[in-house]
Symmetry: C2
Subunit: 546 residues, 2 copies
């Protein structure tokens, strides 16, 4: 039998003309050419156009090459959301290198561990963080690294702190304006090396690829309804999942990126108002910041403000208050391993007729697969088969997507463990499917509490706790019990000037929860969180069950 492909095989191979490696670098190149005069980054009153930003990226790539760094080597970045960070989301890959951004809020030991593991050829660091970086580098005896320092008005840059130190803009000047850059030979080449935030303990080095980065940005356009030329406020730290890929997204649609280095409710409200921000993203902790801000700092808006939230299921009460400020919230779900969002709570216009509480309940769901996600399924914990769409049966979310990492850097065993045969990626998140197919996360696999043979979703209990207005943060974890195996314990951080007794809390829980789900103990204390605001239950468990 002759098929079209077999007849033509000899001359229909992919060529440079018809098979271009997918890469977000193509977006910035195109936008610099087509929308070169449109604003790209704005920070501290200074705006650069896409043409200017592109030129600076090219200079950085050229300077890197001239400095002797080879394609495929790692460049580590320890910096805030300044315009340089936007540039680095492209410039490092333009040099053929692998971008490794590190969470600025990590402790010195962890930073040192990541740098030792990533083995960067060069480190870019905000002047405000040079002291911390020095401690980390000393710890691993690597003070000879080439450092590129992003200046900071409040922190004088010492040029003698490190033997090899150069200011970011001086480094750009060492680049050749006539130099050119090239796409990777294969779209499967590494684009970034992102260490996980550490809800599960030791950070793992997630290697992402050009192909996924391209599809992440492009797939976000239909799913979030992103128009041409949005005004985007960069509240999501770019050291986290490449800031959810939104720098690439803005390059794609020629958006105007408003950079802010530090986050506060006042700064966010003022920026939205001043620049007529149309889009921003933030973990629920950022949304909480906004709704809990003093009234004098709060603003409401007449223009449409779209908010993408992720990182933890936002309590319905938070969603409700944010929308009262005039913002439309879309919850998304993803992991560092999936480049960020791979599911979203796609809104059905028929739900517009529901009352607010019903709407908020739906919006708390993680929803359905993104445009670029091939498959999201919930597999039963016992039988590994898709769970019924009953809103009750729990299983683990598994994913198939072109926006899935290549694997964990230098860790074949961990990689094989999460890919389990290669067909799916196991997220470790426990969820149910509702009758309409929407997925709702119930817990992290390792956070499920098993009491007397019953599964207790710690998130369900936490949601009940959050209904108490004085609760700032709540975490429910397992405590060993001779009788039940495990029992739930509530750890609670109260708002300032709030007082609850253990009895207040337990009475409140009993009104909403089955007896076995009601916490057996309440501990009032500060709750450890990751830099992105996620509760670190493994730390709590270690501290409380030593």
């Amino acid at each position: 039998m002759t098929t079209v492909d077999s007849i033509n095989r000899k001359f229909m191979k992919p060529r440079a003309a018809n098979h271009v490696p997918l890469s977000p670098l193509s977006f910035i190149k195109r936008t610099a050419a087509v929308y070169g005069n449109k604003p790209a980054t704005t920070y501290n009153g200074k705006t650069r156009t896409w043409s200017e930003v592109y030129t600076r990226c090219c200079l950085f790539a050229s300077a890197i090459k001239k400095s002797g760094v080879e394609r495929g080597e790692v460049i580590t970045v320890l910096a805030f959301n300044t315009p340089e960070m936007v540039e680095l989301q492209f410039a490092v890959a333009m040099a053929g290198c692998v971008l490794n951004t590190i969470n600025t809020r990590l402790d010195t030991d962890t930073i040192a561990g990541i740098i030792a593991h990533a083995e960067p050829a060069v480190i870019v660091v905000d002047a405000e963080l040079t002291a911390q970086l020095e401690l980390a580098l000393t710890e691993i005896n690597t003070s000879e690294k080439q450092l590129i320092v992003i200046p900071c008005p409040d922190h004088e840059v010492s040029r003698h702190q490190f033997p090899k130190e150069v200011l970011y803009d001086d480094f750009l000047e060492s680049g050749d304006p006539d130099d050119s850059w090239s796409l990777p030979e294969s779209e499967w080449e590494a684009y970034g090396l992102n260490y996980t935030s550490g809800t599960g303990g030791t950070p793992k080095g997630v290697v992402i690829h050009h192909r996924g980065a391209y599809l992440m940005a492009l797939g976000t356009v239909p799913a979030w309804g992103v128009p041409q030329h949005p005004v985007y406020l960069y509240t999501v730290p770019m050291f986290h999942c490449n800031g959810w890929g939104h720098a690439w997204l803005n390059a794609l649609v020629a958006g105007s990126i408003i950079c802010i280095k530090k986050i506060s409710a006042k700064i966010i409200f003022d920026a939205i108002s001043k620049y007529r921000v149309t889009h921003f993203g933030g973990a629920p902790v950022v949304l909480g910041l906004l709704i809990n801000a003093p009234e004098i700092d709060q603003k409401t808006f007449e223009h449409s403000v779209q908010v993408m939230t992720a990182g933890a299921p936002p309590p319905p009460a938070v969603l409700e208050k944010v929308e009262q400020l005039g913002m439309e919230v879309m919850q998304v779900y993803g992991l560092t391993e999936t480049f960020g969002h791979i599911m979203h709570c796609a809104w059905d216009t028929e739900w517009n007729n529901l009352d607010f509480v019903e709407q908020a309940t739906i919006k708390a769901r993680q929803g359905v697969q993104f445009t670029h996600t091939e498959e999201t399924e919930v597999l039963g914990l016992a039988d590994n088969q898709p769970v019924p769409h009953d809103g009750k049966t729990q299983g683990e979310i598994v994913v198939r997507s072109n926006t899935l990492m290549k694997g964990y850097h230098k860790d074949e065993a961990a990689t094989e463990a999460v890919f389990e045969g290669g067909k799916f990626f196991r997220t470790g998140d426990i969820a149910v499917r509702h009758p309409d197919g929407y997925i709702e996360i119930k817990d992290r696999l390792k956070d499920v509490i098993i009491s007397g043979g019953e599964n207790i979703s710690s998130v369900e209990v936490e949601n009940v706790l959050y209904r108490l207005p004085g609760v700032e943060c709540a975490a429910v974890i397992a405590k060993p019990s001779e009788k039940w195996g495990e029992v739930p314990v509530a750890v609670i951080e109260l708002k300032t000037d709030t007082e609850y007794s253990e009895t207040d809390i337990l009475d409140h829980c009993r009104r909403s929860l089955a007896g076995f789900k009601t916490p057996k103990e309440v501990i009032f204390r500060e709750i450890p969180k990751t830099a992105t605001g996620k509760v670190q239950k493994f730390v709590l468990r270690q501290e409380l069950n030593p």
Copy 2:
């Protein structure tokens, strides 16, 4: 030196979980799952949802497999824009087969030639076209083909005309509802076989691939600003470049496709009004139909209607009148070889302040590369180097894009000729670049007239002719001249009840054109066109310069 990719090479190969072949089939699968209850196709008062359409596609694919057709074989379709045609844009590929749609307006000889060349395993045909198909099949002695007939109320289906004939819905019933389908092993596999429309003579079989089809649809979303759930009127024939990929696009954004079998101004106006159509596409000839319709048939709209136009540079006068009807026009440019549009006249909001004539002049430009197009360049005819951005220097448009064909079916020589070394695809279209980088087509390479050593753009002369209100269609071609080499001749089709003399025409031209560009002769006659409304200058040349 160790790089991230070299360290991890052993275990970071692509897997089923993280490397899914790009294919528009993923769009319809997702939309059936997420937006299964949303309308997909509407025709003659009957609406099917995306879930229903998807099920019918699956049944078709299953029935094809059960009938013994193998993956990679061709399925030819000779049909109009009915819902079945929408289904076939997916169903054929779901069976692993290659979709070959044939222009219904072609003559029997050409249809026979295409079928003989494509060698389909099965043919799907509209009942209205069975007689024509029979003639074609008789010509090439292949009456034993399996035929699947799309019924048509006005044409009784004879069940005896062909030995192997089955109605479309009966064929679906032979499919197994429990059967599954699979994506291609490689996204580079053939998706379709589209014969060119024939402006250049013999049709060539353009082989398109899954990867390009996916990117075509996804890349159109930002470039055309397509929202979720558009209402799309399918005026572009789906036998032409897969209807510009808009069936895939609608599957991606869960659009509502309004099907119409025959086109008239009244049908289009009525459909836009009845269904509140938000998007449609059409060659300038369709736009001409609308603006020249009797006033009683015309309607204006309060809701936004986006029109994508392509196929020929629309005269500014046509653009102006269409916008007066309340429609926003975006011109795009592409070829069958490029899956349809690869450039578009991206609008800069700063142009909103220009007057209408200036705006229309810009909108007549083909513009800039689409989101999914890697590079569009204009290379000088003599030096093969990028032309200056002066709006004057002419060159040939060359393209690099993931939406470029694999090649011409069974024609290695023609394939190598257009890829010329593999780096670019040569379009054969002559254009200039304006100072802002926007590209404007001046002519087909083979339509340029060279008179006394000067290049004359036939399109430029035609645009002058179109300014005469009585000119329905104009074509300017070369006539051999002993003195000048070639001289321009104007062929003109007048509107009914219009009369111009040769002198009227030439006087008008002299007022706007240099002497050497002014036609030396005017011929009044009907002008031959392709099925998509493009003037067939090669036919005129053959007839007038035998």
